[in-house]
């Protein structure tokens, strides 16, 4: 079921970035499986009551992949699929970077990197103060870990034993211009999070069973960091591991080829 949702997210995203002439399809395809697992299996929510207090919270910190979240929300019943067609259009509230205004199900607007984790940490702290049981999930990019603000929060969450906080890092090893390692080396990446006091799991970010198992592997007293090893552009061969598709919008034959490949590989 989550595999089917992931495919739908990918197809929506390809169409949305094509119609909008917008960037970041590579980043969205990279996290389609994580989104499908969260919305299709892991998280508790009520699409007909988006502010239900017992819901799990989700923040997309890599806001540039917002089209993926919009697609996941539409497929999960928060809004109509028709609304997705307005993405990036004049007058639309479906902005390129994820926005909460007018979009049921989006907890928090992002777009500037390094904001999601501190905010999610605050939400997790509030749940602890209030003795509430829900979890807070935040999905970050690996390139985003260049931002110092994340490491401030990375210190705070284990210090306060926020075991209701789950960070998932989209480890596709590519950032805006070059690889993460050529730009500002993150390795040894898992060790860094462990050294900060997190419960860290290193998984295949396209393997749904591994992702679901990881999300359910919380350890008492420690926040959870899932390093989801991914391929940027996953599912469309000519986009995979190509920085160009951080920017380029699929048009004409490229659009057709991308949709065909997604359909055929998953048939």
């Amino acid at each position: 079921m989550t595999e089917e949702l992931a495919l739908k997210i990918r197809k929506h995203a390809v169409n949305m970035t094509s119609t909008g002439g917008s960037s970041h399809i590579g980043s969205i395809l990279s996290i389609a499986d994580v989104l499908a697992v969260l919305y299709g299996s892991v998280m508790n929510y009520k699409a007909d009551n988006p502010k239900w207090h017992g819901r799990d919270r989700f923040i997309l910190s890599k806001g540039h992949a917002g089209a993926g979240v919009y697609a996941a929300l539409a497929e999960s019943g928060f809004m109509s699929e028709d609304k997705l067609k307005t993405h990036y259009q004049d007058g639309s509230d479906l902005s390129g970077h994820v926005s909460h205004k007018g979009i049921p199900g989006v907890e928090f607007s992002t777009g500037s990197l390094g904001h999601g984790l501190p905010v999610a940490t605050g939400m997790a702290l509030a749940a602890k103060i209030n003795k509430e049981k829900h979890s807070v999930y935040v999905l970050m990019s690996d390139g985003e870990c260049d931002e110092g603000s994340n490491w401030e929060a990375a210190l705070f969450a284990p210090h306060h034993k926020l075991d209701n906080l789950v960070v998932i890092i989209d480890r596709n090893k590519l950032q805006s211009i070059h690889s993460t390692e050529d730009t500002l080396a993150l390795e040894p990446f898992v060790d860094k999070w462990q050294a900060f006091g997190w419960n860290v799991l290193d998984v295949n970010g396209h393997d749904h069973d591994q992702l679901i198992k990881a999300c359910n592997s919380k350890v008492v007293g420690k926040p959870l960091c899932i390093v989801a090893n991914t391929t940027k552009g996953k599912g469309v061969s000519f986009m995979e591991n190509e920085v160009l598709w951080h920017y380029r919008s699929p048009q004409g034959k490229e659009l057709e080829a991308a949709l065909n490949e997604l359909e055929n590989d998953n048939a």
Binding site: F108, S109, M123
Partner: protein
């Protein structure tokens, strides 16, 4: 610091009352407040967190807490809780219209001897530029206490600038956000002032009185949203407006007042802004010393009023 921070003490006393009455009041400090917050911390577990020297995270945490219904105060000194984390304030707090009160202890030259890094002299202009933001610089300890009570109970994000030097004034009228307080009435000219530097303005007003000049003194604790009526009345009834702030001349109180005059088509005969002349101070000294050094003190205010009256 040899002088007690009276405004901060009043703020904290009032905040303590508010926290006792409302479990959702949460105070975050970025590792400042030694000898200040100990009692608060002991009294209110779950309502106080020293987040460490990490203002970006503090502001993000505040947003997360406020999204869950908390009424959050972020506290630090000087420019740290504002400029260091300005984008978190803009995107996380203001855009989401969250109930967060950002408190900076040490407005203007409060920490004059500590050097340029601790001179808080552009904050009003910068924060005033943000939508969904209320900007308050109390003129007295009484105003500081009233301000925190009002801000915690109002929705949206706000900035509270606490000063070291204060004017010893209290209004008989209720403190209302966005409503200026007339501390002295007069018809010759109006002095509009924000922050503790009202102290210099009150001294200047008394000196002018001895020379037969009766000035109106308006304490503009709320720089945004600003009290347009008080400004328009001043322009119409007294002819001249002199603004005084311990802040850069650009974009602060003087800028806000002049914007109102132009927008409302109400032009005072004379108009002058007193503030820092678009510069940083590499010179250190007490708040009083630096006010004199940079022509912000009572004697400069007196001279400025006299020059303006000659032209009126």
């Amino acid at each position: 610091m040899s002088l007690r921070m009276i405004m901060r003490d009043t703020f904290l006393n009032r905040l303590t009352q508010l926290a006792a009455a409302d479990k959702d009041v949460v105070l975050l400090t970025a590792d400042l407040g030694f000898g200040v917050f100990e009692e608060f911390e002991l009294a209110f577990p779950g309502q106080y967190y020293n987040v460490g020297v990490a203002e970006q995270n503090m502001t993000g945490l505040a947003a997360g807490l406020a999204l869950e219904g908390k009424k959050v105060i972020t506290y630090s000194i000087g420019n740290f809780p504002t400029l260091r984390c300005l984008e978190q304030i803009r995107n996380d707090a203001c855009y989401h219209d969250l109930n967060i009160t950002i408190v900076a202890s040490g407005g203007g030259f409060s920490y004059g001897s500590l050097g340029m890094s601790h001179h808080t002299t552009e904050d009003l202009a910068i924060l005033r530029a943000l939508p969904n933001m209320t900007v308050v610089a109390p003129c007295s300890a009484w105003e500081a206490g009233e301000a925190i009570a009002s801000l915690i109970d109002s929705s949206g994000t706000s900035y509270l600038r606490l000063d070291k030097t204060v004017a010893d004034v209290k209004s008989i009228n209720k403190f209302i956000l966005g409503k200026a307080i007339k501390y002295m009435d007069g018809s010759d000219i109006t002095l509009i002032v924000t922050g503790g530097i009202l102290k210099e303005v009150m001294i200047a007003a008394e000196l002018l009185k001895k020379d037969g000049i009766n000035v109106r003194v308006i304490g503009m604790h709320t720089v945004k949203p600003i009290d347009k009526k008080a400004i328009i009345s001043a322009a119409k009834e007294t002819g001249g407006i002199l603004t005084v702030e311990e802040h850069n001349i650009n974009g602060g109180l003087g800028g806000a007042v002049s914007e109102v005059c132009m927008d409302e088509n109400t032009f005072p005969v004379t108009f002058k802004r007193i503030g820092l002349n678009d510069e940083y101070s590499s010179i250190v000294g007490s708040q009083e010393y630096l006010r004199t050094r940079y022509s912000l003190d009572s004697s400069f205010i007196v001279d400025s009023v006299k020059v303006m009256l000659e032209r009126q």
